[in-house]
Point group: C2
Chain length 249, copies 2
């Protein structure tokens, strides 16, 4: 495979519990942070309900638009876990027992405990590649550029390390944060000028409120450390001129 | 306006900082919880970068697919705040100074402090309706069924209350949670049967790990309390049969 400089991805969170507000999603941040570290930029996140047609339509769009797609949720043993079957349909593949996954779970559970519910977790798209699960046995899987992970945050987290070899990232996306004791409107025009003069870095401005004080974090992102450093100098120039305090955060 | 029984919505989170994993989104959960309480179901969430074309395309799809769309982020004073201009383009409206917003911010700031950066925050789609901001002055706005809120969680939260009169919800979506000391695979087939016999309630199954112990929360959701109660009885029946402990959570 030829290594691309820029590699992008989308995250598809599948689950009614996130849409109802009952559960706070943390998997997006976990997956995105990990992807950034291996040079894959997340360009879109979608959260959708456990509805087969919606899962299939979303997958069909995302898998043809981005280099990689990571799904989270819907691969457990209950009736609302329909990700594996939906992925099979999206790719036009049979939905069947995965022999290797069956062996893994048969060995994982005590004799007699590999019951009907648990056996549902070995049904996957035919010839899926397994994503090993060091926490709770049941593997995730991938088909082409779509990687299906569980919804439980601690289990998902434990599975990412084993995936690193399956993903071919681009140049790592580097970032530098400068936190200032100011408000956005005081620095808006200076930052705009710097962004205009440095089109190939991405400058974000994020207000924060910490220990009773307002501040703004400026985040510079690029694959090129020299460009980040250059942009940083330009920012520190107006920061010094305006006598704005730089703070630790 | 005729009150519909079922009213749906989408949330559009605009901001590179969520996609990079740097910032954990909490606005989805805040908006969704509030919407549920006024009878509006969230059927989709998208997180997208600060790119005009992406914002416009997403808005054009979401605003014609759902009854309401709520955006968060990109309405501040800096160069990366492009939501208001993008909404204008999505609706084919002029992007101009909103006189009422101008008056609000002129009065909000001390003389001389209503600078260029802050004045950017009064540029909106023509004839936008303002969403008042009791926390930090700068209003959000709505155009037709699209409501634009800020990204800072505490400010966003403070603005929702004032919006309630602008949203016509359907029947409130009620829910009941039963937490059990069990694992999903032990109850999967029983829950599947109950879901099959109660197609018009939504039953979700969510494993949890608390104080060193595993459990599963079963969430029943419907607009009809009687249906929830009925479904609850059916669940408690097999819970008693299987001698599963019900736990507080």
């Amino acid at each position: 495979m030829i290594k691309k400089t820029k590699v992008n991805s989308a995250i598809l969170i599948i689950g009614n519990e996130i849409l109802s507000g009952r559960t706070q999603d943390t998997n997006t941040s976990t997956i995105a942070t990990w992807l950034n570290s291996i040079g894959v930029k997340v360009e879109e996140v979608r959260v959708i309900p456990d509805i087969e047609k919606t899962i299939i339509n979303s997958l069909n769009f995302l898998k043809t638009t981005y280099d990689y797609v990571f799904t989270s949720g819907g691969i457990g043993p209950t009736h609302d876990d329909i990700t594996a079957e939906s992925v099979s349909k999206a790719f036009g593949l049979k939905y069947e027992i995965h022999k290797e996954a069956y062996k893994i779970l048969e060995a994982y559970y005590k004799p007699g405990e590999f019951n009907e519910g648990r056996q549902k977790m070995v049904w996957m798209p035919e010839n899926a590649n397994l994503i090993l699960n060091p926490t709770s046995g049941a593997p995730g899987f991938s088909v082409e550029n779509v990687f299906c992970l569980p919804g439980v945050p601690s289990i998902l987290k434990s599975m990412l390390g084993g995936l690193t070899n399956s993903i071919v990232g681009g140049d790592p996306i580097l970032s530098l944060t400068i936190s200032l004791r100011t408000v956005e409107s005081e620095i808006a025009s200076s930052i705009t000028k710097i962004q205009d003069n440095n089109k190939d870095v991405e400058i974000g401005s994020y207000p924060f409120f910490q220990a009773g004080k307002l501040g703004v974090s400026i985040v510079i992102r690029s694959e090129d450390q020299l460009k980040i450093d250059d942009c940083n100098s330009q920012i520190l120039e107006f920061v010094n001129e305006k006598k704005i305090e730089v703070v630790d955060r």
